[in-house]
């Protein structure tokens, strides 16, 4: 009794505070649990968290200009590009020195490539000059202003110097601005000219098509999940195999099959022409456009919608529907007021899964999307593997990540994330 009435902390039998004894007892347990999941944690760290962090870092990182052209960057700090005047001789001298050094270790092409993303044409100026400048004597050959302009009149362009100055910081918002069709102009961020805009359109198209695909999956998957949940076990298992069958065949094979079905000389068009629904001269364009991507991706992602819906529907006792009907509800009312609301968590889980997968999908749009049906991820892949502009790829990836997280947040606000059941 005295234990309870005393004012201080509750004490354990040995006189130590109970809280501390409990923590000590639990620490061993927690440590052991941690050890068990340590391999997994390590795996996730190496394969997931680090790459994502690296991606986020790359999307703003910009050391290369500073590292390759240190003297130039320093001198240009005092120059005001808004004046419309070329920088002083000192800047040209510093550039010549930097360029000579860089050309010797061949890093001038890299900085050229980087700056070329921001100001197309800049790359050749660097490359051509680099070869010549390598042989100059920096100490004695001055002054360099005329010499450089003579070598390549690109150096007489104020815009070139502005680009170097703008992108001389350690970090840059340039990649992100680029990813939303903007750039750092003389007066801060500005929208790119019409003919250079592409990413916003792609991002919006990706979102719109992913939503359409998610919606199609709901419409097609709901009845299948319902049948699965209401068939006797044996037939349900058979049907389940059919649902899972796509997982057992290669994604490429399936996508190619869609090509055969959907192309203008394909099975579907042939059948429609044969029936007479479609004129031979006006065969339907079902592939290499948005429609093709939507059809093929809906098919591929359908199981991810069906499975969570099925697992939720399975837990709904049929007596709810009977109760609703005995209370006077028609079949439709019973479904809509009683059954459907209980399946919302399954629809939510399936939608999140399908949408997130769709937003990042890349093989199928690349194969059946043509030019009109490609996704933002196809551009990311292009920048990562073909153009080598990793920073832009990373920025696009980061934007995609942010959009998905934002949608997740919205979903949580509207439906509630604890209302999601995956099984």
């Amino acid at each position: 009794m005295s234990d309870i009435t005393q004012s201080g902390p509750v004490l354990a039998a040995d006189g130590r505070p109970l809280k501390r004894s409990l923590a000590r007892a639990l620490r061993m347990q927690k440590l052991r649990a941690l050890l068990l999941i340590a391999p997994l944690l390590l795996f996730i760290l190496v394969t997931f968290i680090l790459p994502v962090a690296d991606m986020l870092f790359r999307s703003v990182e910009n050391r290369i200009v500073q590292d390759t052209l240190p003297r130039t960057v320093e001198v240009l700090a005092d120059w005001d590009p808004a004046s419309g005047q070329l920088p002083e001789e000192a800047a040209f001298a510093a550039l010549a020195a930097d360029l000579k050094e860089a050309a010797n270790v061949k890093t001038h092409t890299k900085v050229a490539k980087r700056l070329n993303y921001e100001n197309p044409g800049l790359s050749s100026v660097f490359r051509k000059s680099g070869r010549k400048v390598k042989n100059w004597d920096i100490a004695n050959d001055g002054p360099f202003r005329e010499k450089l302009i003579e070598l390549n009149d690109g150096w007489g362009d104020v815009e070139l110097w502005r680009t170097i100055k703008t992108y001389s910081g350690t970090f840059t918002s340039g990649y992100f601005l680029n990813a939303v069709d903007m750039r750092l102009g003389a007066e801060g961020p500005e929208v790119r000219p019409e003919n250079e805009r592409i990413y916003n359109t792609m991002l919006i198209r990706t979102m719109r098509m992913s939503l359409i695909i998610t919606f199609s999956c709901i419409m097609l998957g709901y009845p299948v999940a319902w049948i699965l949940a209401n068939l006797p076990t044996r037939q349900a298992n058979l049907l389940m195999i059919l649902v899972l069958l796509p997982f057992w065949t290669s994604l490429l094979v399936r996508t190619s099959a869609w090509k055969i079905l959907l192309q203008q000389q394909g099975v579907i068009n042939d059948t429609l022409v044969w029936i007479g629904l479609v004129d031979d001269a006006n065969r339907l364009v079902l592939i290499n456009n948005e429609l093709g991507t939507i059809i093929a991706m809906t098919h591929i992602l359908l199981p991810f919608m069906i499975l969570p819906m099925y697992s939720v529907m399975q837990t709904i006792n049929p007596s709810y529907l009977r109760a609703a009907k005995s209370l006077g509800a028609t079949d439709w009312t019973a479904f809509w007021r009683v059954y459907f609301p209980q399946t919302v968590p399954g629809i939510g889980a399936g939608s999140i899964l399908v949408f997130i997968l769709a937003v990042g999908y890349y093989i199928t749009p690349a194969l059946v999307g043509g030019t009109k049906g490609t996704f933002i991820s196809n551009l990311i892949a292009y920048h990562i593997s073909t153009s080598g502009n990793w920073g832009l790829g990373a920025a696009l990836g980061a934007i995609l990540l942010a959009v998905v997280l934002a949608l997740y947040w919205v979903y949580d606000k509207i439906v509630g994330i604890d209302n999601v059941k995956l099984g």
Binding site: N317, R322, A323, K325, S326, L327, G328, A329, A334, R337
Partner: protein, 366 residues
């Protein structure tokens, strides 16, 4: 057999059969007539077809053969939602995504009732089961007994004339069960509704019902008021199923003046009331209730046959004594005696003679 011309009949099953798989009949030739306002219980072992009958009445299963009538009209082709039958499910089936008030309001909404009228009825129904304070809660926030009350209120709120209940108290503990048994019968009688109640708890059936229909093997074995069912079972299944019962097997020797003389398998003779036997030579199973057995010689009738018995066990149960005997080779012969001041307490090993009134000993089918 049901009498179709019966004007009082409210619920009628006429020659109803049901098969799920086309091979076995789950319900075989069911005939049943209920007047309005009756509380009828279907009692029977698991799998005897009680739920199936209820589902056919509610419209969730169709009868394979036969006719089901409600208020004189056949309901075979009326869909469940138009039958206007209230139903309480074993698992309550309260809609988990709706509050209690919304659950109760649901049947009124689908009947397109106005808002103020709905609210008044919901409130009245909740008050009736003493759940008025819980309207805003979700079913998962209620205890089992509270959910049960809500389910009852929901089945009654739209004022159906017929209410079906499928083991509504199955999930409750004994004390709550007894309380609810009382409340349900009380409500049913005060509202004047007709109730078909399913249970496999015989005490529940006996205490609640106007009549009990004992089911076995897809047939009604006997349908009678509780006292009649207990005291005059029609066959040995009912005798065994309802209450405690002693059975002895034997052969009918003769039947005279409504009394059958039965020779037990060990040769002893007893007097019985012939129920399911008509000819000498027939095999029979004799049934006697434990509290109708007498061992006090002075109270036994003159001239009746008695049996020798050995006391095996004496159990003191407070209000009664329960004594286990060996009678005619049966070690499970039980007698019950009231704990009265003049009552003799039998000792194990004691040899006694037992007897009974011939009408308490029923010669049933073997």
């Amino acid at each position: 057999m049901a009498d179709a011309s019966n004007v009082d009949a409210f619920v009628e099953f006429e020659r109803v059969q049901k098969s799920y798989d086309g091979e076995n009949l789950v319900v075989k030739d069911l005939n049943l007539t209920m007047p309005k306002g009756e509380f009828l219980t279907m009692l029977g072992p698991s799998g005897s077809g009680k739920t199936t009958c209820l589902m056919m009445l509610a419209g969730f299963e169709t009868a394979t053969h036969g006719d089901i009538r409600l208020g004189g009209t056949s309901i075979n082709n009326i869909p469940p939602h138009k039958r206007g039958i209230g139903m309480v499910f074993q698992n309550y089936a309260l809609f988990p995504h709706m509050t209690i008030a919304e659950n109760l309001s649901f049947p009124l909404e689908v009947r397109k009732m106005g808002k103020s009228e709905r609210e008044a009825k919901v409130k009245r129904a909740l008050d009736m089961v003493e759940m008025g304070a819980f309207g805003g809660r979700r079913p998962s926030q209620l205890s089992g007994g509270q959910q049960q009350r809500v389910a009852l209120a929901r089945a009654l709120v739209f004022e159906p004339e017929l209410v079906l209940m499928d083991e509504p108290l199955g999930a409750l503990d004994k004390q709550l069960r007894e309380k609810m048994q009382f409340e349900i019968t009380h409500l049913a009688h005060s509202l004047g509704i007709t109730v078909v109640y399913v249970t496999h708890d015989q005490t529940e059936a006996l205490t609640m019902s106007d009549r009990v229909a004992v089911f076995d093997d897809g047939r009604i074995q006997q349908i009678a008021p509780p006292d009649q069912l207990y005291e005059s079972p029609d066959n040995s299944f009912v005798a065994q199923f309802i209450g405690e019962n002693n059975t002895l097997e034997g052969t009918v020797k003769e039947i005279n003046n409504g009394i059958a003389l039965v020779q037990l398998d060990d040769g002893e003779l007893i007097d019985c009331k012939p129920v399911n036997v008509s000819r000498p030579g027939e095999r029979t199973r004799v049934s006697i209730r434990p509290e109708r057995v007498e061992y006090n010689k002075e109270r036994l009738q003159e001239g009746v046959h008695t049996l020798k018995a050995e006391v095996l066990e004496f159990i003191y149960m407070g209000d009664i004594f329960r004594t286990r005997l060996r009678v005619a080779g049966n070690d499970e012969f039980i007698i019950k005696t009231r704990n009265a001041p003049d009552q003799v307490r039998l000792q194990p090993g004691q040899q006694i003679e037992i007897g009974w009134l011939p009408e308490d000993c029923r010669a049933l089918d073997a």
